[in-house]
């Protein structure tokens, strides 16, 4: 699984990217067929009109949430699913669509799902999320990336996902999660002194090193925390794939 942001802002810190597969290595179809499940007809037809202007995208079906039968015989590569469907049960629709059309990639469209929603949709097999205030470019990039096998999470949701995973980890008390990072004795000492409220200079004095050395320890601690999170999400993604 490959979670990545759908915006170019990326410093390689918070977003785990699987090395097993990249977009460039796994080209999607030459023309991506798309179905749109959206109760609002104007929105549905508007999205279809915008996407149909692009030569590599073709909207092959569109309808409201009670019309998922419209996908029969179409087997779209990508299904755009409105999270705020009028019947309020878009998770059930996502699960049903994924069960009926396992080869199709589902992209959920919404403003900002809450933590639990994100995880439920991820568990239902949703491949990507796009915010309703995203640009057309964001939407097109998400469709193309998802059709190539990537999984897309908007930056606004990454914090939520991290929090949810952390919460799950705490609830389950998985020891492999808690043991998977190693701080050096000095780094642990620095963290302990930070916990006491000491500043860099005070810590430097206490452990008899230069202030810039303390700063270096803090930077290393940050890197390890980030690495820990990356590994955890990679492990989580791996569990999902092998489940």
């Amino acid at each position: 699984m490959d979670w990545r942001r759908n915006v170019p802002i990326l410093l390689g810190v918070a977003i785990p990217i699987s090395t097993a597969q990249t977009v460039g290595q796994n080209r999607g179809p030459a023309v991506i067929s798309i179905a749109i499940i959206e109760d609002n007809r104007l929105v549905r037809e508007g999205i279809a009109a915008l996407l149909s202007q692009l030569p590599d995208l073709k909207v092959v079906a569109g309808g409201h949430s009670d019309d998922t039968v419209l996908l029969k015989g179409v087997n779209p590569h990508v299904i755009l699913l409105d999270l705020g469907l009028q019947n309020g049960d878009s998770l059930r629709v996502a699960q049903q669509v994924k069960a009926d059309y396992p080869a199709s990639k589902i992209i959920v469209m919404d403003l900002l799902p809450v933590h639990e929603d994100i995880m439920e949709f991820v568990n239902a097999g949703v491949a990507g999320f796009i915010m309703k205030d995203a640009t057309l470019e964001d939407l097109v990039n998400t469709i193309r990336s998802v059709s190539e096998g990537a999984h897309i999470l908007p930056p606004q949701m990454t914090g939520s996902l991290f929090s949810q995973i952390a919460k799950d980890a705490m609830a389950k008390g998985r020891p492999e999660v808690l043991d998977s990072v190693r701080m050096t004795p000095r780094e642990r000492e620095v963290i302990n002194l930070i916990a006491e409220g000491l500043g860099n200079k005070e810590i430097a004095t206490r452990i008899n090193v230069a202030t810039h050395t303390v700063k270096s320890h803090v930077r290393n601690i940050m890197e390890k925390l980030t690495l820990h999170t990356r590994l955890q999400i990679a492990a989580y993604a791996n569990q999902r794939e092998t489940a």
Partner: protein, 109 residues
Amino acid sequence: MSNIKDTPPPKTIWAYAYQILPPQGAKRLHAIKTLLDQAHTEAQGGARKWTGRLVVEEQITHILIVSDSPEQNHEVNRRLEAKLQELNAGFSITVPVAVVDEGVVPQPS
């Protein structure tokens, strides 16, 4: 017996970080700094550990949180996240890491 009495079990503390993009200037972070200082003082008053430290780098700004609890949904977390949203700063949060001495198995509280 006396050893058990004399050696209190080491207290696990937890570290995690907010990662803020794009990096924020010192002026914009003044309100955050104030909030972190207040939260630290409040925690001390309640005999708890909760410290937040700004770490400003060229390409990213971090807030390192060290706490005696792995929970990330404290009132102070919500206040902090609200402040970051006020700044229109995108952020993510890392999972909490137990910081213990070697050989001690951390237990979630």
